[in-house]
């Protein structure tokens, strides 16, 4: 079975969806069926064909460049693909209820299908260009989804911001891809990795044979180390943008303006997590480059901790989840950044897997609760889930996972991440120590805000709000995801992810850290909002994301616009000046000429003849001799 099928099914579904977008029922059926089919295909592939396949599928004759556009289906990728398909299906099914009354539901469903296709493309791609394709399409879909309710100015602004911030970071991604491809002469992942790998062995042989360093470099065709570092850093910048890490983190909380299912999709399994997949693919190169690892490590360490703290202090629960996504994606990436070459990036992928499950669960449950409460502000939502058993269960499992309690899916993956970071710290050639410290602190903070979230949502409330009629699809989805979140940790037993053994020590440590976090949240008792108790003064700042939005505007948007105005002025007044100047000069010359000829005197004519002849004669005599 070609992995292309995984991409093609949702892509086709989106195409059909666009055609039938005016018929909600058709659109929903197409979307859900395609989602189911995709999940089925992914599952079959995962179970039956855990082998790598790659090869030329399209023949793009572009001169010297080799564009294999190949795909790869190793077990880790297929596992990720499966969870992506699962989350997508959940989102599609859930939206048939959630957006059932929306006049643009058809468009939404089609966009989600396209989004899924793009993410799956990134997952199965073994080709940097192909990755870029999926990467960019996801960005565009996120724009459409966040801006789905485009009648609201906030939604429009959030969509614009999300796309522009990620696109600015993508300058780095594109350049990184182009640079790597250019260096390798091929866009195939294996080719790129092979070409840019440190040829240490060859070098050492050459040096041992007595060749001076420059010659050895020449003989081994060594890639330029500095160039590689630069390119990796560029790629990392791109990933940081899409994954909403510092300093690009601010678009993500704003993206909560989109419909909740869209948030679930974007945050859980797709766009923000895609960077992990990409960097996992390039891990052999990344592991060799301390600089790039440091850049990534510092960024994600800061991000995860900062985001966890901000999540704790949010007065809006949906935004809390958003910040938690920033934090958790940081956790995924931290595994990639810190893991030593021997460990491999799969701990990060595992966390992607688990995060996809519990984060989609949380978002979808929160969305339901928000419908019941009529808003997402913490004050409004207080106790909004208390009346619905499925919500309570879902939120419990979800927050437990988020907090990283052992045995549920989130706990399993977090332990592996911690273990990888510890290995990195031990190996000592990367940002391992920093990451480890950040991880531990983040775990505590995460546990704290998870506790806060659960407390607030399930707190006792007298009016017991309900969300009107709920079609069976929504509880079914929630139950399914709840189950998956509980049992998802078993994936480590399939061996799809290449993981190191985790000692019991980590389990204990995790419990300890989580306990500290929970205890911290419960300082004020069960009835009070922990944020009010602990971080009262931080809340207004946290709600504004520490004012980074203003920073973006001051540092990037305004200068660029000012520059644009200057350029526009220069364009019409200066560059065009030579055109207008020419016209003006011609006209002036014409005016001058007509003035000279105005009198039309005969003596002028004859004077010109005589003078001209004399001049011409002089020129001739001088010129010819």
């Amino acid at each position: 079975m070609s992995p292309w099928l995984l991409v093609a099914v949702p892509a086709l579904a989106s195409l059909v969806g666009v055609v039938v977008r005016r018929e909600d029922r058709w659109a929903g059926a197409v979307a859900v069926l395609a989602g189911g089919l995709t999940l089925l295909l992914a599952g079959i592939a995962w179970v039956l064909e855990p082998g790598s396949t790659a090869g030329h599928v399209l023949d793009l004759p572009v001169g010297g460049l080799d564009l294999p556009l190949a795909t790869a289906t190793d077990p880790a990728r297929l596992a990720v693909a499966t969870v992506v398909a699962l989350v997508a299906l959940a989102v599609q099914a859930y939206s048939t209820w959630y957006l059932g009354a929306d006049d643009r539901y058809g468009q939404f469903a089609a966009t989600v299908s396209l989004f899924t296709a793009a993410m799956l493309l990134v997952v199965v791609s073994a080709d940097l260009v192909l990755t870029l394709v999926g990467w960019e399409v996801m960005g565009w879909c996120s724009y459409l989804l966040i801006g789905h309710w485009s009648r609201r100015p906030e939604a429009r602004r959030a969509a614009l911001k999300a796309f522009l911030v990620t696109r600015v970071a993508d300058i780095g991604f594109v350049l990184g891809v182009v640079g790597f491809v250019a260096g390798a002469g091929t866009s195939g992942l294996s080719g790129v990795v092979g070409a840019w790998r440190e040829p240490t062995g060859c070098l050492q042989e050459q040096l041992a044979a007595g060749a001076p360093l420059p010659e050895a470099l020449g003989a081994c065709d060594a890639p330029d180390g500095r160039a590689r570092t630069v390119l990796l850093v560029l790629l990392v910048v791109g990933v940081l943008g899409k994954s909403a890490q510092v300093p690009f983190q601010d678009w993500l909380p704003d993206a909560m303006e989109g419909p909740t299912p869209a948030s679930a999709l974007i945050h859980a399994a797709t766009m923000v997590a895609a960077g992990t997949v990409v960097l996992a693919g390039l891990h052999p190169l990344l592991a060799d480059s301390p600089t790039a690892r440091w850049v990534l490590g510092v960024a994600v360490s800061v991000s995860m901790l900062l985001a966890a703290v901000l999540a704790f202090a949010q007065s809006d629960l949906k935004r809390m989840l958003a910040w938690s996504t920033v934090s958790q994606v940081g956790v995924m990436l931290s595994a990639v950044a810190a893991a030593p070459p021997a460990d491999g990036p799969d701990a990060g992928l595992l966390h992607l897997w688990s995060h996809a499950l519990f984060k989609s669960l949380l978002f979808l449950a929160l969305g339901w609760a928000a419908v019941a409460a009529g808003g997402t502000a913490a004050v409004r939502m207080r106790g909004s889930a208390s009346a619905t058993p499925v919500l309570r269960a879902a939120l419990l499992v979800g927050f437990l996972s988020l907090a990283g309690v052992p045995l549920v899916v989130g706990g399993v993956s977090k332990e592996h991440v911690l273990a990888a970071a510890y290995d990195g710290a031990v190996a000592g050639d990367g940002p391992g120590v920093l990451v480890l410290v950040a991880l531990v602190l983040t775990s505590a903070a995460t546990a704290a805000y998870a506790t806060r979230g659960y407390l607030l949502l399930t707190a006792h409330r007298r009016d017991r709000p309900r969300a009107g009629t709920v079609t069976p699809a929504a509880p079914a989805v929630l139950w399914a995801l709840t189950g998956a979140s509980v049992l998802g940790g078993l994936v480590v037993l399939t061996g799809s992810f290449a993981l190191h053994q985790v000692s019991l020590l980590w389990l204990v440590l995790t419990v300890l850290v989580v306990g500290v976090g929970v205890a911290l949240a419960l300082v004020g008792g069960l009835d009070r909002d922990p944020a009010e108790v602990l971080a009262r003064r931080l809340v207004p700042y946290a709600d504004r994301g520490l004012g980074v939005d203003g920073l973006y505007r001051r540092v990037v948007a305004r200068p660029v616009l000012r520059l644009a105005r200057v350029v526009a002025y220069v364009d019409t007044e200066v560059v065009d000046g030579y055109v207008r100047g020419t016209a003006l000069a011609t006209r002036a010359a014409g005016w001058l000429g007509s003035r000279l000829h105005r009198g039309e005197r005969s003596s002028t004519a004859v004077g010109l003849v005589v003078g001209g002849a004399l001049l011409l004669g002089a020129v001739g005599v001088l010129g010819w001799s």
Binding site: V610, G611, L614, G617, A618, V621
Partner: protein, 172 residues
């Protein structure tokens, strides 16, 4: 300095003087008369150079016909007997014209003088030879010349006859 040179110099001085006065005088009639003198000087020079026929024709055609015509024209255009104040020019124009003349003469002299590297034997071309060439070799231009004269005559007559056309835009 041979006798020919002397004779030539004399004619040349006459021609130059006549020409100078013809150019600078402010009496229009005098200008025409000084031109006669200048042309006589030129004719003399040509005679010295051995072109008798040309000299003769010059005197006959120019002095005999052209200058008379010019004089008639001056009369018909009511030229004043004294200085022609109506067409007086300012000093700048005069200086400019003088400079232009000097420059022309200088330019011409500067290219011609290097050619004059000594005395040469004056080539003898008889009038018979000239006539033979004129009616032999040069018969075609000669015939064209007759047509030119004819056309000039017809044209001058028609123009001088006045605007007898019924051009509606003619100013009466």
């Amino acid at each position: 300095m041979t006798a020919l040179d002397t004779a030539f110099a004399a004619s040349a001085v006459l021609a130059v003087l006549g020409g100078l006065l013809a150019v600078v005088t402010r009496h229009v009639v005098h200008a025409a008369l000084w031109l006669v003198v200048a042309l006589l000087g030129v004719a003399g020079a040509l005679l010295v150079l051995g072109a008798e026929l040309v000299a003769l024709v010059l005197v006959l055609v120019y002095v005999g016909a052209v200058v008379v015509l010019v004089l008639f024209a001056l009369m018909l255009t009511r030229a004043p007997a004294g200085p022609d104040l109506a067409h007086a020019v300012g000093p700048w124009r005069a200086v400019g014209a003088g400079l232009l003349g000097l420059a022309s003469a200088g330019l011409l002299a500067s290219v011609l003088v290097p050619l004059a590297d000594g005395s040469v034997d004056r080539a003898q071309v008889t009038t018979t030879q000239v006539a033979g060439e004129l009616f032999g070799t040069w018969v075609w231009p000669f015939e064209l010349l007759s047509l030119l004269l004819l056309a000039a005559l017809v044209g001058a007559l028609a123009v001088a006859r006045g605007h007898r056309s019924r051009d509606p835009k003619a100013v009466p």
